[in-house]
Assembly symmetry: C2
Homo-oligomer: 454 residues x 2
């Protein structure tokens, strides 16, 4: 009897044993890196609305199928596009110097001959806002505030407003154009792009970002107190409407197939790099995690759904389309986590679930520990593409990656595969395996506020 | 008597005490960095033959005078020029991708529409040389060999031949153009320029280098075994003859003013960066060292001459002009050392002097030790701009800098001031102070082979 009992135990391992084994499997191979290698090599850059956007969708469908996902489909996402054309800036005086710039997303173009004007320097967006009404009249505004480096990327928030609102505030002061210091932590001659916004009733002026070393030089030249003139050429412009797709793959749950844990990343990237860290990594990590769970003999009770969101970069367009379509199914979206902070190791995780679900979170925390991941608190925010669903009431988790070097690469030409350490992707995959398996398999149905049980 | 004796000792310190004090003075300020800041800010990039070449000469003369050098003058250097114009490369198939390239120095241009052709891949220059006669017929040659990183830069030699000879060897095999992987150790989307050569009787084809991440991508795409096509546009072209100047400043010796110790760097840079590490650093270090020696109450016996060589990058043109003019004065060129390996700390030094001079070298070695610098041997080679004088028989020293990251920056847009650590320049300055003071002040006149004494 004892022997038989022991044999039975071996035949049906505990959930903890199952997840530990899948976690080790994730750690011991380079599946996520291999997926990322194909995306960055076979598709490359994939800005929303470009031919490579369509190639990426095709890649996503094919890759899900190759990996053996049970269900694979696409959902249309329609949006306005923006087309990058030639862009260049030169210092005209005190001496000729090529300034490395990139147009900000949805900037209007300059005239063909460019905009040639004196530079007026503000240290921060707030300084520009606080300046007199005609402080930038007939000039090109330069904002020089530099982003600070932190593991959790908290240097981003305080400075990224200059990118988003700079053009509007500069136009209000009579500026002809704005060129900000890149929102990034590196010191390479590679500017960082990203979205900017116009405002009804305020003149649309061209907006670009320059590399950090160029901004350093410009500050030093400006410190000489002689007039500094720049010629800015930006030919990038709005494009036609375009329909892309959210690409979705599922590993079906064994008991409650309609209930799902959503993981994923965004499939689009900016055009400058090949989107290896933003967000090829997130795509690859979550596809790999679901694949490893799906291949297990012991499928979790609920479905693991991987969503590769369309057009995150230009305003969470795919995420909004997803929420609009799936809000009727909100109750079946048990919880979720998006991977969209690069390719660094995960060092912490947080939850945002009903108090009653915390024992499930504790189980996760135990299984995360061998990965060097500590539980933080129950105040997690959503990854960008889960914001719309979170706003509707979906519970979320946040698996926090070391982002120390993320903003060196983010939205630059340098966002390429060589920056990714395969072992770090494996660690991320292992963490998503733990999270998704435990969440999908729990007795309790995880939720944000009111706990429901089956 | 005793007291008087002691007072006398204080009034006339030993050579060792003098040099130690000057060394500490060099370590305790940022003179070299401050000089470099003005060069990179007020002149910027200064490719031979450009308007900034002339600005750099003007800067050199002005800076020597400001620093209080006893004699300041220029010597003309005439050479052929090359003008960089627009350059761009795109992958046409399997999908559009912008490849970051830079034309190699003195490349011929492509037609306006570019050269569009299939890529043929060779791992090394030798593989290209060893390939069949028509191996590259109608194609663009890609050489993918990657430079290895070492503190002493020894990874450069084995791969830089692909840059120098690649175009000739590719043309021999029928190629339309050549694009090599950059000769550099970084992983940024910033290609490395540098000189290439043509050969009489072999067709001149355009030659460029691509960034390391682009080369990585291209290798991965080529591994898919489908045809890969590139369009290469290089509009850079030869320019007119130009006359620049070697800029020379001296701190006159107290006993043998005609005899000199020569230190210096090259004043020109490539056009992509602002020449902070190549070779603004060398210019600044040696100017600062001579300034500190010149300011001493205890001038050394011989003159310390700082030469800022014109046009090193395009073939040691300034160095050859210097040697042609000064070979009649060779015997008075006691010894020398050029600083042209970036802005890293010096970790070792070597001499190339007559055996009889070794006691002087030993004295230097003792004074270098507190700087963390070890003596190596008596087999030093010359810095590039001292090659012509060395060939004529001048003795030389080699103050060896840590070049671990030198080839990350060398000949790229990233060669900018932010890469320079002021304290490292101070350490370099201190080492040049020790070297130049001891060499200029020795009882023995240092020489290469036969030792002469006064
Ligand atoms: Zn992202
Ligand atoms: Zn992004
Ligand atoms: Zn050099
Ligand atoms: Zn050089």
């Amino acid at each position: 009897l004892l022997l038989t009992g022991s044999a039975l135990v071996k035949a049906q391992p505990t959930e903890e044993e199952i997840v530990a084994e899948l976690r080790e499997k994730a750690m011991s191979n380079t599946l996520a890196y291999d997926i990322l290698e194909t995306l960055t090599t076979e598709v490359g850059a994939r800005m929303a609305g470009t031919p490579q956007d369509a190639m990426a969708v095709e890649w996503g469908v094919k890759k899900f199928k190759e990996l053996g996902f049970d269900k694979v489909w696409t959902e249309p996402v329609t949006f306005k596009t923006w087309i990058r054309a030639q862009e260049a800036a030169v210092l005209v005086s005190p001496y000729p110097h090529k300034i490395r710039i990139t147009g900000l997303g949805f900037t209007v173009p300059t005239p063909l001959e460019g905009i040639e004007a004196e530079i007026v320097h503000f240290k921060t967006l707030q300084d520009l806002i606080d300046s007199p009404a005609d402080s930038a009249k007939g000039k090109i505004v330069f904002i020089s505030q530099k982003m600070e480096r932190f593991r959790d990327g908290r240097g981003y928030g305080p400075v990224v407003k200059a990118r988003g609102q700079g053009a509007v505030e500069a136009a209000k002061k009579g500026a002809l154009a704005i060129v900000i210091r890149s929102i990034g932590t590196d010191s390479h001659r590679l500017p960082h792009t990203g979205m900017m916004r116009y405002k009804k009733g305020v003149k649309k002026i061209p907006a670009a970002a320059m590399s950090n070393p160029d901004a350093d030089l410009l500050e030093r030249i400006l410190a000489r107190k002689k007039p500094v003139k720049m010629n800015l050429k930006v030919y990038s412009h709005d494009g036609p409407e375009y329909t892309s797709y959210n690409v979705i793959g599922e590993m079906t749950g064994s008991e409650y197939p309609d209930e799902k844990v959503v993981i994923g990343g965004h499939l689009d990237s900016w055009d400058l790099g090949t989107g290896a860290v933003d967000d090829g990594a997130g795509v690859a990590i979550t596809m790999a995690a679901a694949k490893i769970i799906g291949d297990s003999k012991y499928r979790p009770k609920r479905t693991v759904r991987v969503v590769l969101f369309a057009n995150e970069e230009q305003g969470l367009i795919g995420a909004r389309a997803y929420a609009a379509k799936h809000k009727v199914d909100l109750d079946n979206h048990v919880t979720g986590a998006e991977s969209d902070f690069g390719a660094g190791k995960i060092y912490a995780f947080a939850s945002n679930v009903a108090e009653d679900n915390l024992p499930v979170v504790k189980k996760m925390a135990e299984l995360m520990k061998p990965l060097g991941i500590e539980y933080v608190d129950n105040k997690a925010g959503p990854g960008p593409d889960l914001i719309p669903m979170y706003s509707l009431g979906m519970s979320v988790f946040s698996l926090r990656q070391d982002g120390t070097d993320y903003f060196d690469l983010h939205h630059t030409e340098d966002d390429t595969l060589d920056k990714v350490v395969p072992e770090n992707l494996s660690q991320n995959t292992a963490a998503y395996v733990v999270f998704a398996y435990i969440a999908a398999n729990s007795e309790q149905k995880i939720s944000r506020g009111i706990t429901k049980t089956h």
